[in-house]
């Protein structure tokens, strides 16, 4: 079925576009000299690892650098347009007291102790602070898909009230944000005793007794190499936009899937131009939005339509959509396609996807429009859920069992599956990518690890991520063989060299719910991109080494 794309380009977009373009144009005129400054506090004196953000008045773009060992910071020439800036900082335990310009043009920032430390904590810091066992805390990793833990821990609910809240949560779609809550057509399955156990635990760590009966622990600020980075955050024009997967094209434009609305988004970071392309609602009453965004060999883009069901192809040149609907006999109220893998569809004319409601995989034949069903877990007990997908050069599929502890391979010719359990039990592999050697890299969400699988040797290698309770969502291996990862929990971007074992974690300027991560290999050093799923922004991270 052919559907024309509807380009959304509201007045708001236009205002943002012109304002932003003007700023960038000024910036490009060479008027933007290097901006230097210094950050300190009464308690520490000069402070290393403070994220200093500058935002030109009225701009949707915020540029961030990190202070060095002597509290010094420097915005490189050209990174900011000339003019006046609003400054903000991120240094857990502190808040910005004042900013002052010296006669020589440098900026002096003074921090003071934060009045409300709890408001600054990442989910990871809540995990570390809360008393209780890992088993008690682990169910919370589902909550952070939609909101932060602060929201839970500031409640005063007792166990019974909290149980009612948790029951209500089971009625919401996983593609919900605080800005756009979506109700599922079919409630999630849950076991009452498990929800009651979780509710009872949460009632011991929230404010039901009047105060948190435990110290709030914080992670260390960035230091050394983690301070050598430039971060640019592009605010999107509506707060409801929930960028999930982000990728750049050959022209450097950034495309993103919107998790809660039927739009494909595009941002040109050079001009600031932002556009949204609407695709049709194919399942009225079902939650809107898409999750995975992948490209085929010709550069056209594919969306997995989540509860709208089916797959959506976007012809980039014609700017038109083609919707591949699920047939009625395969479609039910719980049907959900979260993933799509068209990268090798030129080999056999077939595109892989998943069917969450059946713990299964599907393959779309582009010629006939028909879907085949593959159920590798049919004879298996426990919980299974094929999630991240990647295809090899022959369009054989590798899939992550996000519900369990394995990755799998489906042979494109025979349709037979091979399941490889990960060395770490209950690892819950999530998103994945294939490197140039055909190795499969992936995030072990529940195990707090990243891993690689060698399909030739049929062996795994796993690494712990440096910060506990990170729960990595995705991985991307760049042209240098370095691995990049992020999560919904820590607000940190991991850069890891598997060869040396060395890693660095870059702190992001704001609370950032990280999903798919992407690296543009065309620059040196490489350029990292990610969407802020709850924060309606696109983030560019440029390491300075």
């Amino acid at each position: 079925m052919q559907d024309g794309a509807r380009l959304k380009f509201s007045f708001h977009h236009l205002v943002s576009f012109f304002r932003f373009s003007l700023l960038l144009a000024l910036c490009g005129n060479g008027a933007a000299a290097e901006l230097r400054g210094h950050v300190s506090s009464r308690e520490e004196g000069a402070m290393e690892g403070v994220l200093v953000s500058a935002r030109p008045a009225g701009s949707p773009v915020t540029v961030t650098v990190v202070s060095g060992a002597k509290g010094e910071f420097r915005f490189p020439a050209g990174s900011l347009p000339p003019g006046k800036y609003e400054y903000s900082t991120r240094a857990v335990g502190y808040e910005l007291e004042r900013s002052a310009s010296a006669k020589d043009g440098t900026i002096e920032l003074t921090l003071r102790k934060a009045k409300d430390l709890a408001a600054q904590l990442t989910n990871t810091e809540w995990f570390i602070s809360m008393p209780g066992t890992t088993e008690q805390k682990r169910p919370l990793i589902e909550c952070m898909s939609c909101h932060t833990f602060e929201r839970i821990l500031r409640t005063k609910h007792g166990a019974e009230q909290m149980f009612e809240v948790l029951k209500r949560m089971t009625t919401y779609a996983n593609n919900s944000t605080l800005q756009k809550v979506q109700v599922r057509k079919v409630e999630r399955k849950y076991e009452e005793q498990n929800l009651r156990r979780l509710a009872a635990y949460l009632a011991t760590v929230n404010l039901s007794s009047g105060a948190w009966a435990y110290p709030l622990k914080t992670l260390p600020r960035p230091s050394g190499r983690a301070t050598r980075v430039l971060i640019t955050e592009y605010d999107l024009p509506r707060k409801t936009i929930a960028p999930h997967d982000v990728r750049t094209d050959a022209e450097g434009r950034v495309w993103y899937s919107n998790f809660v609305e039927n739009y494909l988004g595009r941002l040109d970071p050079r001009t600031g131009a932002h556009a949204e392309f609407a695709y049709p609602v194919v399942k009225p009453g079902a939650p809107l939005g898409s999750l995975a965004l992948e490209a085929d060999k010709s550069g056209d883009l594919w969306l997995a339509a989540m509860f709208q069901t089916g797959l959506v192809k976007f012809d980039v040149r014609k700017q038109s959509f083609q919707v591949f609907r699920l047939p009625a006999e395969m479609n039910n109220d719980a049907s959900q396609q979260s993933m799509v893998m068209p990268a090798q569809s030129q080999v056999d004319g077939k595109v892989w996807t998943n069917e969450v409601s059946k713990q299964a995989l599907m393959r779309l034949d582009l010629k006939s429009g028909k879907y085949e069903l593959f159920e590798p877990f049919k004879t298996m007990g426990g919980s299974h859920s094929p999630y991240g997908l990647v295809a090899d050069a022959a369009n054989n599929l590798f899939f992550m069992d996000f519900g369990g502890e394995a990755i799998g391979r489906i042979d494109a010719g025979t349709g037979r599956a091979v399941i490889y359990p990960t060395p770490t039990p209950r690892s819950r592999p999530r998103r994945t990518m294939m490197d140039r050697e055909g190795r499969v890299w992936f995030a072990e969400f529940a195990a707090n690890k990243v891993a690689v699988f060698d399909p030739v040797k049929e062996t795994f290698r796993e690494w712990d991520v440096p910060t506990p309770h990170t729960y990595p969502y995705d991985v991307f291996v760049d042209k240098n063989g370095e691995l990049w990862s992020g999560s919904m929990s820590s607000d940190r971007i991991l850069r890891f060299d598997p060869a040396s074992g060395k890693s660095v974690e870059y702190l992001l300027p704001r609370q950032t719910n990280v999903r798919r991560v992407f690296v543009d290999n065309r620059s040196s050093p490489v350029t990292f991109w990610v969407g802020s799923n709850h924060g309606a922004s696109i983030i560019r991270l440029q390491p300075l080494d």
């Binding site: 682990r138 929800l195 298996m380 007990g381 426990g382 919980s383 996000f402 039990p425």
Partner: protein, 126 residues
């Protein structure tokens, strides 16, 4: 089932009961992972354990599960449903420098729910 093997099986079942899995809120992460367990050892001709051997379990459907043995030669497959007939699962083992000689399925005592299925794989150099 011999005494030590019975202990191993009990430990495996206990571990799986304690384990976490899933993708649905407040439920699957705490679901006891109950079901039919396949486990066993890969050993050489003298009965010494072989670490890092590849164990392949092939289902009637043609789907396979591939795991590696631990330092003690132990392997364990993911948990299956009780509806699966153990006779429909064929176990084989492989490692470079070795060839498989025997596969020994321990007699399965009738029980409800079914007990873990132990299958030993023997290999020799060559």
């Amino acid at each position: 089932m011999r005494g030590p093997a019975r202990l191993v099986a009990a430990a495996l079942v206990f571990a799986s009961m304690q384990a976490l899995a899933g993708g649905e809120m407040g439920g699957a992460d705490e679901h006891p992972d109950e079901g039919l367990v396949f486990f066993g050892f890969v050993k050489d001709a003298r009965g010494a354990p072989i670490a890092g051997a590849k164990v392949t379990a092939t289902m009637k459907s043609g789907n396979t599960f591939i795991v590696q043995t631990s330092a003690t030669g132990l392997y364990r497959l993911p948990t299956f449903t009780y509806q699966l007939n153990p006779a429909d699962v064929v176990i084989a083992c492989a490692k470079e420098g070795y060839k498989q000689t025997r596969v020994i399925r321990r007699p399965i005592a009738k029980a409800n729910p079914p007990k873990p299925v132990e299958t030993e794989c023997r290999m020799e150099r060559g």
